[in-house]
């Protein structure tokens, strides 16, 4: 019997062995898909719970499949029969990938179709989730290979999970290793992902071939768990270092010290910024120059970035934005916090500051254009918007809007916050809205690491102040529409700004 036929032979045996479990798993995945789709009143179940049920079921399933032909039990049925040990492993991995991950991935694809995302995004999100799921399954298969039965596998898995997470927690503490936490991102993360696949497969192959387990196998299993932690939970996006096209925007900065001098304020404005680009500045570090000729290093890392240039919103149907003052020079302040000691020293007088940071560039794109009426909804590019309730008065309006989006930053979706506006086609005018209150939560899709967030927010139309001579005509909101813009990142570049006197 050839290698490939043997692998298929064992795979068929495994499928025949667990027909009911396959069926139950199919049902679990189906329920998870329906939950992700908010169908059949399943919204009451937390979607994260369903994802965890699917994942745990899959882990238990692969544990049983591995232990049915245990690589390390001396009296395993296959052990003294003419099996290629690697064919047996291939059959088990095939089962994990084709049956367990395949079914969940198919469910994920079905669930994603309701979000109206491009096919490439569906593939990217599904592959990302499938990879995270594979890491969970590898961890389960490794423990299954080293234990005798399901119960001991569960106990060993929990012990390993707790033990490794404690060690990882200590190791990733910046006090212990300042750089290690950053090292797992970027190249370190990519290497961990490759090792996350290679090491468990190599360990399983070794166990199936060697069979005689010693304590060293458990040490290797702990390594698998460490890689599993890094690869499965490292969902921090790799920062796109792409520079936006076109010439870099220059920033002008002036000093604006606070009276208490707990912090140094720097007023920032953009010079020659394109009208359609929103620019946000993130302070990395800064140097404050004092009147006695000395300097201080002020802390950076201020979040969120300050907007130094708000873009003009596009004008659908050539509408006019009411009360829009953003055509003029926009000035904002970046805050450079000082420590008490620095404040004491800086009391002598601050003369200038050099600020290093990143300038993020984003442009608005129209995401949705809905009638301002309860029940109106749209799904586009991984975001769903549904108007739950609308209160319209002659000169005011508010709307409760439920916005759901695929929040996994690693997928590149949900690139920026949304701007909600109300537009009156009748008058050819539009106005911004203000957020009054908000509630929401995160849930999961079918596969791990695919998070969907849902927010329920009340927006009120901003009515322009009459003192500026802009008024809203009676009946402005009759037939009004909700137009939503999404900010899409064009990239960022590093820059240095020095204050001018």
């Amino acid at each position: 019997m050839s290698w490939i036929r043997q692998a298929a032979h064992v795979f068929r045996k495994d499928v025949r062995q667990w027909p009911w479990q396959v069926f139950v798993y199919f049902v679990v995945v189906s329920v998870t898909v329906l939950r992700a789709e908010d169908r059949f009143g399943l919204a009451g179940i937390a979607s994260g719970v369903m994802m965890m049920v699917t994942t745990l079921f899959g882990m238990v399933f692969v544990t049983m499949v591995v232990q049915s032909d245990s690589p390390t039990r001396p009296n395993a049925f296959w052990g003294t029969r003419p099996f290629h040990s690697s064919a047996l492993l291939a059959a088990k991995l095939g089962f994990a990938v084709v049956i367990v991950i395949g079914m969940a991935a198919a469910g994920q694809v079905i669930a994603l179709t309701g979000w109206n995302v491009p096919a490439t995004t569906v593939v990217r999100v599904t592959l990302g989730g499938a990879f995270a799921y594979l890491m969970w399954l590898f961890a389960a298969m490794t423990i299954a290979a080293l234990t005798r039965d399901l119960r001991s596998a569960i106990v060993a898995f929990l012990c390993m999970l707790v033990g490794v997470s404690v060690v990882m927690g200590i190791a990733s503490n910046p006090i212990v290793t300042g750089a290690s936490a950053r090292m797992v991102h970027g190249w370190g993360s990519a290497i961990a992902r490759v090792l996350g696949v290679a090491v468990p497969v190599a360990l399983l192959a070794f166990l199936y071939r060697r069979r005689d387990v010693r304590y060293r196998a458990w040490v290797a299993a702990a390594v698998v768990f460490v890689l599993f932690f890094i690869a499965a939970f490292d969902t921090v996006p790799s920062e796109a270092d792409a520079r936006p096209t076109g010439p870099a925007v220059r920033l002008r900065a002036t000093l604006s010290t606070s009276p208490v001098l707990r912090e140094v304020h720097v007023r920032l404005s953009a010079i020659d910024a394109p009208a359609n680009q929103r620019l946000s500045f993130f302070v990395d570090s800064s140097v404050v120059h004092l009147s006695n000729g000395t300097s201080l290093h002020a802390a950076g890392g201020q979040r969120p970035p300050v907007t130094v240039h708000p873009a003009m919103l596009p004008t659908p149907g050539a509408i006019r934005w009411l009360g829009d003052s953003r055509n003029g020079q926009y000035v904002t302040e970046a805050v450079l916090p000082l420590t008490p000691q620095q404040s004491h020293v800086a009391a002598i007088g601050v003369v200038s500051a050099d600020v290093w940071g990143k300038l993020y560039v984003a442009v608005p794109g129209e995401l949705a254009d809905l009638p301002l009426a309860a029940g109106a909804s749209v799904a586009r590019d991984g975001t769903r918007i549904r108007i739950a309730q609308v209160d319209v008065e002659p000169d005011a309006a508010s709307a409760d809007i439920v916005t759901s989006y695929l929040a996994d930053a690693a997928t590149g979706l949900a690139e920026g916050p949304l701007t909600y506006t109300m537009v009156s086609p009748r008058f050819g005018e539009g106005t911004l809205t203000e957020q009054r209150n908000s509630s929401g939560g995160s849930g999961s899709m079918v596969l791990p690491a695919s998070v969907a967030r849902s927010d329920s927010t009340r927006f009120e139309a901003v009515t322009p102040r009459e003192d500026r001579g802009i008024t809203m005509a009676p009946g402005w909101f009759t037939g009004a529409r909700l137009v939503v813009f999404q900010w899409k990142s064009l990239g960022h570049y590093s820059t240095r700004v020095s204050t001018t006197p």
Partner: protein, 323 residues
Amino acid sequence: MCASVSARTSAVEASRVTYRYGQIEALSDLDLSIPQGALYALLGANGSGKTTLLQILMGVRRAMRGSVSLFGVDSRALGLRERATISYIAEGQPLPEWMTLAQLEAYVAPLYATWDTALAAELRERFGLDATRKIGALSRGQQMQAALLCALAPRPRLLVMDEPFTGMDAVVKDDLVHGLLESSGRGDWTVLVCSHDIGELELLADWVGVLDAGRMLLSEPMDVLQSRFKRIEAAIGGDASVETVIARQTAEWMAVERAGRRMTFLVSDADADVEQRVARELPPGSQVAVRDASLREIFVALARSARRTRATRVDSARTQEVA
């Protein structure tokens, strides 16, 4: 038969095999040679290392020291071709209980080029197994028969069985023994079986090995063993007390037991004049009867003797330690 067997190359050859479970030494510098065509019975008390030895022979465990070869091939490097010529029934080996016997045969058969469908059917018939019943629904004895069927149908060159008679009633055991004997008569194969059912092994085996605390006490053909070990029954004559006789016993007397003025023991190097030799050691007027020792008697005598030797060794070690 023994002479013809021993003239051939070995089916199993183990040299200075050592294996430890942590600090516990399961096998210690063990040597073993099983000639091709032998029906080899491996005897040993619980914990003597039988199962570990079989697992090392089958490549399931790796010896920490020493070498093992099957038909001249290192057991750690057994390829598919070699594995297809070896059948192993492990103690407590779980069969896929969800399969019917027919499904089990269909699963296993494609792995062997030499699978004999007719033999499988014949064995099924002989054991009275229903091919449509699930393995899990069979009794323990029937499950062992199903395992045996799967082990014999490929017509292996080497059949290794670890406690095959466990859970079988006397009739089934008898069937199994006769089935094995019949099958062995048909082909040139080697059987290595270890079991606590010494009575069955005595019927089967033509070679015997006794393992104790990880060391081989003996390994030799059954006929040599039976000619060497004799059971002596003596009625002590005269006025001498039995205690005095026992106290004066020679080193070759094993497993000495007494009942009134009668005593029995085994001698391990019997020859034609063993009766006269023993009579000279006893008080005048004693009566001596000599008969063949059973395999069970030989095993028990050897095991007790080894245990006594170990205990003496431990005692002297402690004494030295205290001193």
